[in-house]
Symmetry: C2
Subunit: 410 residues, 2 copies
């Protein structure tokens, strides 16, 4: 997640460092490392790597220089604990590793191999905040990289208010061998500094269902970490935003994504109607994310200040369609109708995933089973191959053929 | 990935089974299972699960029925090897497991617990084709679930023509303890039946960089597997389509995704220009995926039928911007200009990820390092929090502030 212009930014960063942070000797050494690295990169950009072995680049001289820089970096990293500089060193080490792969076939270059081992150690040495995506379903959907990171952490938080994992936190604690602290919205917003405490000295993990950047809320934590000069590494995972490809429609034909919230007696928001209309005007598919209510209080409990929470509620495809049709009835702009083709999706990415396609009217009573649900309103750009895939799980194949002929000329 | 209407489809499936596939007795048993399961589901839909313990649903009677059905299912599964029916049984077993969680706190219901163990075994018993996403970078980006699946497979293929993993297949083979067969486009298209051979008797893995549904091409294999009655399970992972959230822009504000291919002297396609224009007219961000050329032959080698391949080529952010500006010069419809805000992204999701924001003109010469690159053209819906995040890695923060003021009134 460290995203600046790398060593350029690092050089700039060095020039503003308070001088008493670092001995003059070390500062000079550090600058030498950055400058040397820049020169390496130029060499590698000027020379096509594939001609390395044809003698146009002096391999042995390059390796000698590599080695000298690596050991300089080692000296600096050992004595220096500024998080920014450490992460720049790590970036450089990783780039050197990439370049180094070009030399791996030369068996005599053992001293260089030692350098590689050293850079690998440096890479794993920096303490930081890990923001780790857990994927779609349960404790085994974490990536191997993510699992290793969790195991290296002294504190592990689970974000538990924008989405829901299909296992509870005690199961996660057991699987990771680490106590998992459930962080609700309040905690993340008001105690972010407690979450980040010491993350420049120990590893801290913040676990997020799906992908870390699926929801807006976590960028706050990342921005706060930056302000505190704590390095952040994000470990990505599947989220509904890409896993929805499982329905057989191509991801690049989706327009903007919308969220549908539970109607109440007095609050029936429909601003997403315009988004669907915009997407459909361009022929694009619309992914509708459906509301989740977690840790909600009843009005009575809220009024009495009792922290008693209602059981979680998940909007079903059926409820979403009912609301959509009600809005269309009110607006009447034909952004879609009961005859529009859609795909109801339940438990996407889980082994017992269910997909059913049909018109909104056909799907309003279909049985999708347990949570989580989402809905795709199909756009007019549907391709023949997409249609073939979607027909496979049509609620009624004969009627599907008719709709495809009517609306898609396929 | 089995996506039909579950037991409804299963019942239908049973009625068309050739009678000699199954003894009459077993067929009756199987139908009884499906009907009983349907009735369970109705019970659970009619009764809010949270009132189970208040006596409104007869818990003990339900558990007795559960148990009977589970053992019937066991009989059938043991004697029956039709892949479709096996997968329906698995789906039911998993749903029963979900419902069963409601009872887990009742210690006396041990016979029911045995049923749970049995369903868990059934769930893991079906042989199939696994289509497994490898994520963004290297061998450790696979999910734990995916890794377990790979280890259970007798043959493991790696799709190697739509994207590139940053490690080679020998490293994967080593890490998985399985020989990884690199499958190029030709192989997947012309030998799909060889890939799928016996996948109803043994597990076969098809590995895909990113998410399995990131690219169109793999749906063919899934459709072919279905035709051969081979169960398919997809294991999702991060892809650039959701990991691009790392740039700090919200995924739900992205429009359709475009691909930019390498211009040649004679082929300079620009059809995506209209897509960018459509997105920007709605204020939406555009993710531009940049061309990868793998296993390309030179015209000379192609003409002489020599299977000698050029080194892989990856389009840089710089090349993409040059092409974009050339197209804008030709078309002149101001879908974007050199002054449009954009984000160049390199190695998204890898530890040495680089992001730089600025105008297209500012980014055309910026240094992004090695592959893979992608580009985001920022839409006018950028929110203040997004802008704060994006400013962090601006090529020039002062000019960034000016642009944001000029184009976004922020």
């Amino acid at each position: 997640m460290r995203t600046k212009g790398d060593y350029h930014a690092a050089l700039e960063h060095l020039s503003v460092l308070p001088p008493d942070n670092l001995s003059k000797n070390m500062l000079e050494k550090l600058k030498r490392v950055f400058v040397a690295f820049k020169s390496f990169q130029q060499d590698f950009q000027e020379h096509d790597p594939s001609i390395l072995n044809t003698g146009k680049l002096d391999v042995n001289a390059t390796i000698d220089r590599f080695e000298a820089v690596l050991y300089d970096m080692g000296d600096v990293a050992e004595e220096y604990d500024d998080a920014n500089t450490r992460i720049y060193l790590t970036i450089m080490a990783e780039r050197l590793l990439q370049m180094a792969k070009l030399f791996q076939d030369e068996p005599e270059q053992q001293s260089f191999q030692r350098g590689i081992v050293w850079t690998a150690e440096l890479s794993s040495k920096t303490e930081m905040l890990y923001v780790i995506g857990l994927g779609l379903s349960d404790e085994k959907d974490i990536t191997v990289r993510g699992l290793e990171a969790v195991k290296s952490c002294e504190r592990v938080y689970l974000e538990a208010y924008t989405s829901i994992l299909m296992v509870d936190s005690t199961k996660l604690s057991e699987y990771y061998g680490k106590q998992v602290i459930v962080a609700d919205r309040e905690m993340v917003e008001s105690e972010s500094d407690a979450i980040l405490a010491d993350a420049d000295k120990i590893n801290v993990a913040f676990l997020v269902v799906g992908d870390p950047y699926g929801a807006t809320t976590h960028t706050d934590l990342v921005i706060r970490a930056r302000e505190l000069d704590i390095p952040v590494q994000v470990i990505h995972n599947a989220s509904i935003m890409n896993a929805i490809g499982a329905c057989g429609l191509q991801l690049y034909n989706f327009g903007q994504t919308i969220s549908i919230v539970f109607f109440t007696d007095t609050w029936r928001p429909d601003s997403f109607y315009d988004r669907i209309k915009e997407n459909r005007a361009l022929g694009l598919h619309t992914l509708c994310l459906l509301d989740i209510k977690v840790k909600e209080q009843s009005i009575e409990n809220l009024a009495r200040g009792r922290k008693i929470y209602e059981p979680p509620r998940y909007m079903t495809v059926n409820q979403a369609i009912e609301q959509l049709l009600e809005i269309e009835d009110n607006r009447g702009e034909k952004a879609y109708t009961g005859e529009t083709l859609a795909i109801g999706c339940a438990r996407v990415g889980q082994p017992h995933q269910t997909l059913i396609s049909g018109t909104l009217q056909q799907l309003v009573d279909a049985d999708f089973g347990g949570p989580l649900h989402s809905l795709v309103i199909v756009g007019n750009k549907m391709h023949e191959l997409e249609a073939e895939f979607v027909k496979e799980y049509a609620i009624d194949k004969t009627s599907f053929d008719e709709i495809v002929k009517r609306d898609y000329s396929l």
